[in-house]
């Protein structure tokens, strides 16, 4: 545990955030470790999704958004003035609550980011990257015969795995997932969870979830948010079996949520 702490991938230091005058995050401190799954739980409106979107600066899209504090990615604060946000997002990819494939073919959905980042990429290399990414997302066998079909023609679960493949194709180091299973059926959910457990062997994974069972099944570390504060953060085992705060215990017991 101590060794892992020294090599944390992302260190969030005293992060506060506002939408206009509404204070959504208060002084969040969190260290996120590589090759592990960090789960974020908490009731609706607690700030966990906002927190996740701070990690790749996707909140920049919202006009009234403002933040203070630092998010150090490999020792560099991504909120510094001279940081190239586009480059940051290339290394910290994101998967959303609703599957959102582009209105393009399955192949192009995965190839799009690669082509954009390397305009000279050869067709043969691109084919390989697309295949590998789809394999890693456990989708290849289901779509290999319909790479030219529209991404929108796939089922919800397949679309979500396509979105994961799209992120994997640009070779990020961190993958953020914002309630990736909330719109999926149990079978698709199980497939995504299995996939997350595979992904943590090579990536840093941060997943926001509403589903306590899911948090229990996949997380190595678990953070509990309440009213914009990170109330408790520890190993998943520790948080679940031995919560330090009363509110964490109450939430896990289902007393509110």
């Amino acid at each position: 545990m101590q060794a892992a702490k020294n090599s944390c991938k992302i260190k969030v230091d005293n992060l506060s955030a506002w939408y206009g005058s509404y204070h959504v995050l208060e002084d969040v401190y969190m260290e996120i470790y590589p090759r592990s799954i960090t789960g974020l739980i908490g009731p609706s409106g607690c700030g966990k999704s906002t927190f996740l979107r701070c990690l790749n600066r996707l909140n920049d899209l919202i006009k009234s958004f403002r933040s203070e504090g630092a998010v150090d990615f490999e020792g560099e604060n991504i909120y510094e003035r001279d940081v190239d946000v586009v480059l940051v997002r290339r290394k910290i990819g994101m998967v959303f609550q609703q599957p959102n494939p582009f209105p393009m073919s399955v192949y192009d959905n995965v190839a799009f980011g690669v082509r954009e980042h390397n305009r000279q990429v050869k067709k043969i290399d691109l084919d390989e990257i697309v295949k590998q990414s789809l394999e890693r997302a456990n989708l290849w066998d289901e779509v290999k015969d319909k790479l030219n079909h529209s991404g929108l023609s796939l089922s919800g679960g397949q679309q979500q795995r396509l979105c994961i493949a799209r992120v994997l194709a640009v070779m990020p180091e961190v993958i953020l997932l914002d309630e990736p299973c909330s719109s999926l059926d149990p079978v698709s959910t199980a497939k995504i969870e299995e996939l997350l457990l595979q992904l943590k062997n090579s990536y840093t994974v941060v997943v926001v979830t509403h589903n306590l069972g899911q948090a229990r099944r996949v997380s190595d570390y678990l953070g509990f948010f309440l009213n914009g504060k990170l109330v408790e953060y520890d190993t998943a085992f520790g948080v679940i079996n031995n919560p330090r705060e009363k509110s964490t215990g109450d939430y896990l017991a289902g007393n509110f949520g």
Binding site: L58, L61, V88, R89, G93, N100, F102, F112, R166, V167
Partner: protein, 308 residues
């Protein structure tokens, strides 16, 4: 019971208005067909107009048809990039501030300006000798002056005239692209401009095409700008033959004729004496515009099916 009566009255009023609109629209078309269909023949469509007060000798409408197509093409060429860039700016970059609001207000005002005002404005600008490239120089006058009437001048003025309508329609199309597409692109490290260029615009293509065709219909149907900025000729006034490539630029710098100006100059209400041919030309124009509208409709349906 009272409620039902009120409902019935409302129904009847709406129904009546709808039928009235449809009737007016159909009457114009039927009227044109009755008056104009009998002059439409292969000859009418493929012969040039001749200056004659005798209807039988006044020729056909080939040059006006070509003029209409040329003007629509050039006008669209000017209007398309201009409107698209404005629409992208308004929907993606402008945000919501004082400057953007005044730009929007300006566009709304532009939409309400009568086309004859655009025409005078275009003429006033393009008679400036420094802009003689767009038309020709007037020879033999003391003060240097450009003629200010040509296909290029009319096309540019037409572009100004359709700009607000085309921009609005394109802006709506761009705004309708789901935010989730943009987020997806940003989340894999695509820059804002590349996201617009590669994700947003392709997703908005149908709406953008609808905007273009809307502009095309308006350009094809406008008369005031043609009247002032293209002049009163029935033929191409540039070097002849006007259609050989060496003369293309000259043809565009000179004046010509369109179906709308033909209708004016050949009808007795205007300056001619060929009422039947005026109706014929009007019918051809209406057919061209209706065809364009059907195309819009078809494209609209096509998208709905694709998304559904």
């Amino acid at each position: 019971m009272a409620n039902i009566n009120r409902n019935l009255t409302g129904h009847a009023a709406c129904w009546f208005s709808g039928v009235l609109t449809l009737t007016i629209c159909l009457s114009i078309i039927v009227f044109l067909i009755i008056k104009g269909a009998n002059v439409i023949s292969w000859q009418f469509l493929t012969e040039n107009p001749q200056p004659s007060l005798q209807e039988a000798l006044s020729g056909g409408i080939l040059i006006p048809i070509i003029g209409t197509i040329l003007l629509v093409g050039l006008g669209t060429l000017f209007a398309f990039p201009w409107a698209l860039a404005t629409a992208i700016y308004l929907s993606e970059y402008g945000g919501d501030n004082q400057w953007v609001n005044s730009l929007r207000a300006g566009i709304d005002v532009l939409a309400g300006v009568p086309t004859i005002v655009f025409a005078i404005f275009g003429l006033a600008i393009f008679t400036h000798p420094g802009l003689s490239y767009f038309s020709t120089m007037v020879e033999g006058v003391a003060n240097a002056k450009a003629f200010g009437r040509s296909f290029l001048v009319s096309a540019f003025t037409m572009a100004m005239m359709v700009l607000p309508f085309v921009t609005k329609s394109m802006e709506e199309a761009i705004r309708a692209v789901p935010q989730t597409y943009k987020e997806a692109a940003y989340a894999i490290g695509i820059s804002k401009w590349r996201t617009i260029y590669k994700v947003v615009l392709p997703a908005a293509t149908t709406g953008i095409i609808t905007g273009i065709i809307l502009g095309v219909g308006r350009i094809a149907g406008d008369t005031a700008i043609v009247w002032l900025c293209l002049g009163g000729s029935m033929s191409m006034t540039g070097p002849q033959p006007w259609w050989i490539p060496q003369n293309w630029l000259d043809t565009m710098q000179n004046t010509g004729s369109t179906l709308t100006s033909y209708v004016y100059y050949s009808s007795p209400a205007g300056e001619g004496n060929s009422p039947n041919k005026a109706f014929g030309a009007g019918l051809v124009l209406i057919i061209i515009i209706l065809a364009l509208n059907s195309l819009v409709d078809y494209l609209g349906k096509f998208t709905r099916v694709k998304e559904g």
